[in-house]
């Protein structure tokens, strides 16, 4: 940090104070650490420190058999477990050239979109908390809790599901799954509406978020932002539309885009995405076919052919990519994950230029990072 003292005369007293925010700070969303150089209340410079949650997941994957790796992918982005499981399963399926039954694809899409809603709801909750509003968090947690109760009845676990299998699912969904989800969607809409009415257009909230950390579309692309952070800047890019995977090309849904690329756009885009996900789930429920879901592989050990594959998917936080190299054994030779939160974090320094300390919290909140994925 040498460039912070441009305007300072050589023998003047230093005016910047080094403020260490995190890893134990209530609004760094886990164990993220920011070192802020502040001049009074203004942030002059920021340096992110990551790695407090580093578990070596990618290395651990090399020691696990293919179906065991799913449990590790659950723990990357621990707010969007189904999405992570799906992208890994798709990688192995692509490597092996497996066909997945229609029904399991549909169930995967339903669960992934519900998980996206759950993740975005948690985002709305924490965004409110970062800005100082307490009640939206409770409302959103209520909605998320309902989704997780559904997940529990489907997969047996509320967060680390381990439900998707290479080539299918662990087991079929419960009998009352479809009516249950239909009821749930109504409640999700209600919860989102309520939190939306309470927070989104509140003048104080707008004053806190609008025009904060606005970045242009060019900058967003240059920094490799994906997901809501990119779309907030007005770039119409969503892997579900740009390179449709699974059965996403069969649904009619919009990709909401923001225009100014500021924190409020990032916030409101996620609110809109919840409604779009609800639309997708509704259509998927209508189209849900019958059939087998369990993988034809059964419980057999998997030995994919040697080769490498790259698969990408749209996670709640952006584009996740899995690069998988197989040497023909029962364990992956190498797995590299492109975590969306980690790439989004790279724009932090640009966003926090000349902001206030209070803004720093909001900007980090609007990036919506998950440290399990950043540190891996």
């Amino acid at each position: 940090m040498t460039q912070i003292s441009e305007n300072r005369t050589p023998d003047a007293e230093p005016v910047e104070m080094l403020l260490n925010m995190g890893p134990q700070h209530p609004s760094t969303h886990g164990v993220f650490r920011m070192v802020l150089w502040v001049d009074g209340e203004k942030v002059v410079d920021v340096e992110p420190h990551i790695g407090y949650l580093h578990r070596g997941s990618e290395k651990l994957c090399e020691g696990e058999q293919y179906h065991q790796v799913i449990t590790l992918f659950d723990r990357l982005d621990y707010l969007a477990n189904f999405n992570n499981e799906q992208v890994y399963c798709r990688a192995v399926e692509k490597l092996m050239g497996l066909e997945v039954s229609e029904r399991s694809e549909y169930i995967r899409v339903i669960l992934c979109e519900l998980n996206r809603i759950a993740s975005h709801m948690l985002f709305l909750a924490t965004m409110g908390l970062d800005a100082g509003a307490m009640t939206p968090s409770m409302i959103c947690f209520r909605g998320r809790e309902r989704i997780q109760a559904l997940f529990e009845s489907v997969s047996g676990a509320r967060m680390m599901h381990n439900y998707f299998r290479i080539g299918g699912l662990k087991e079929d969904v419960p009998d009352d799954f479809v009516p249950q989800v239909r009821d749930l969607l109504k409640l999700i809409k209600e919860d989102t509406d309520e939190s939306d009415r309470l927070l989104s257009f509140n003048e104080i909230f707008l004053a806190r978020l609008k025009n904060i950390a606005a970045i242009s579309a060019e900058d967003a692309i240059d920094f490799g932002l994906t997901g809501p952070c990119l779309r907030a800047s007005g770039v119409d890019y969503d892997v579900r539309k740009a390179a449709p995977y699974s059965v996403y090309d069969r649904f009619d849904f919009d990709i909401p885009v923001g225009l100014d690329g500021d924190c409020w756009d990032r916030y409101y885009l996620r609110v809109q995405e919840i409604y779009q996900s609800v639309r997708i789930v509704e259509q998927a429920l209508d189209q849900l076919p019958d059939g087998e879901v369990a993988s034809s592989l059964g419980r057999r050990l998997i030995r994919p052919p040697a080769g490498e594959v790259y698969v990408r998917a749209e996670n709640p936080r952006g584009e996740i990519g899995v690069y998988l190299i197989s040497d023909g054994s029962d364990r992956p030779y190498r797995i590299k994950v492109r975590p969306p939160s980690f790439c989004n974090l790279s724009a932090l320094k640009l966003m926090m230029k000349d902001c206030w300390i209070a803004d720093a919290v909001v900007i980090l909140g609007a990036l919506d990072i998950v440290l399990g994925e950043v540190d891996r």
């Binding site: 209340e41 100082g132 409770m138 003048e203 609008k210 090309d249 909401p256």
Partner: protein
């Protein structure tokens, strides 16, 4: 009864003062306990939660359990702190909070020492608490604490001015700074009816003064993690919060006394007026908690801009309007009109300050919608299916 010179007062007076202070301390402690429970329960209700339920029936013993826990907790003093200042700061805060209550009357007689310049005394003493916060922030040798202390100084001193000005205009209306006189002057009509602007300014500035949402900037949990209180624990920390709740109660009581006629109300006279007084105060407090459960927090620059660009000019305007009204001896409704007009100006100013982003938002939504339609029209054309 000039209580300050103990030599000149008789023994009976002295004993009354000691007993009165003791009663005040006890009553305020009970009030604070009730406020903590009320806040937790009410916030829980606002957020579809239950609040405390385990300690006693419906959790009513929770504040006592909290108090015990806080007193029994280890009182940690950071090694690098300024020990003396660290120790003294909470005491300054809590003493100033208690001192205010010496002259706030509950009813005509339920007051320890009524002063002719009661309102002046209250405002003068409430400023001392700020010193304690600044000292606490600085003495704990913590950067968050220092930031919080400086924020507290900036915020509380800025919002002191509107409070003083509104208090002056109320004093002008009542022709006295004696709290009892102010309440008695509201016999025919309560001052809220003639000074709605004053009430709004006083209430907003009062929220800022006690650091309640949306002005809880000097101890913002999600930014500077408690600000001046960040290094405090155990009894010291509880003393800070004792002071905060007493101040909240004081602001609510002052709002009621200055604008809602204090203990005066239909049907009850004399000391029975407390039955009118307490519900009014608790109602105001519940509004404070309600606001806490709804609003996000402002940023420090927005807060200061709001203070100096809206609150201070409007509070001066309120004094001027009261003066004009009194000088020309106009009927009361004329002041109501003027004050309401002022209120509209405040509303307009807030609206204009806040409407910038709102307008941006609506523009953004229109443009978004246009883009959305455009893209949907484009996607009607056969889309190319792409694989991974």
């Amino acid at each position: 009864m000039p209580a300050t010179i103990l030599l000149t007062v008789g023994l009976a007076d002295f004993i009354w003062i000691v007993v009165g202070l003791f009663i005040m301390f006890t009553v305020l402690s009970v009030v604070v306990l009730s406020l903590t429970l009320l806040e937790r329960k009410l916030l829980a209700r606002l957020q579809l939660r239950l609040g405390p339920t385990r300690t006693g029936p419906m959790g009513v013993m929770q504040p006592i359990a909290d108090a015990f826990k806080l007193i029994l907790k280890e009182d940690i003093i950071p090694a690098s702190s300024e020990k003396a200042i660290f120790w003294v700061a909470p005491i300054i805060v809590v003493v100033s909070a208690f001192m205010i209550w010496v002259t706030i009357p509950g009813t005509q007689n339920a007051v320890i020492q009524n002063l002719d310049l009661g309102l002046f005394y209250i405002i003068a003493f409430s400023v001392i608490g700020i010193l304690g916060l600044v000292l606490a922030g600085w003495g704990s040798a913590n950067k968050y604490g220092t930031l919080g202390g400086l924020r507290a100084a900036a915020q509380l001193i800025s919002y002191e001015i509107p409070i003083i000005m509104v208090a002056i205009s109320v004093g002008m209306l009542a022709q006295s700074l004696d709290m009892r006189e102010i309440v008695n002057a509201q016999g025919s009509y309560i001052f809220f009816l003639v000074q709605p602007l004053g009430l709004v300014l006083f209430f907003i500035a009062g929220l800022a003064e006690v650091g309640r949402t949306p002005f809880d900037i000097y101890f913002a949990e999600s930014e500077i993690v408690g600000g001046p209180f960040v290094e405090y624990s155990g009894a010291h920390w509880s003393v800070f919060f004792l002071a905060e709740y007493i101040n909240t109660f004081a602001i609510a009581a002052l709002t009621v006394i200055l604008f809602f006629g204090g203990w005066s109300g239909p049907g009850l006279s004399g000391d029975w007026g407390i039955i009118w007084f307490l519900p009014k105060v608790y109602l105001v407090i519940m509004v404070i908690f309600w606001i806490r459960g709804t609003f996000p927090r402002l940023r420090i620059d927005q807060l200061m801009a709001f203070a100096w660009k809206v609150m201070v000019p409007m509070s001066f305007l309120s004094v001027v309007m009261t003066a004009v009204y009194l000088f020309y001896g106009w009927p009361a409704w004329s002041l109501t009109l003027m004050s309401s007009a002022g209120l509209f100006v405040v509303g307009y100013l807030i609206y204009k300050r806040m409407t910038g982003p709102t307008k941006l938002v609506s523009q953004t939504r229109i443009r978004q919608q246009a883009l959305q339609d455009q893209r949907r029209a484009a996607s009607q054309a056969p889309a190319e299916a792409g694989g991974d």
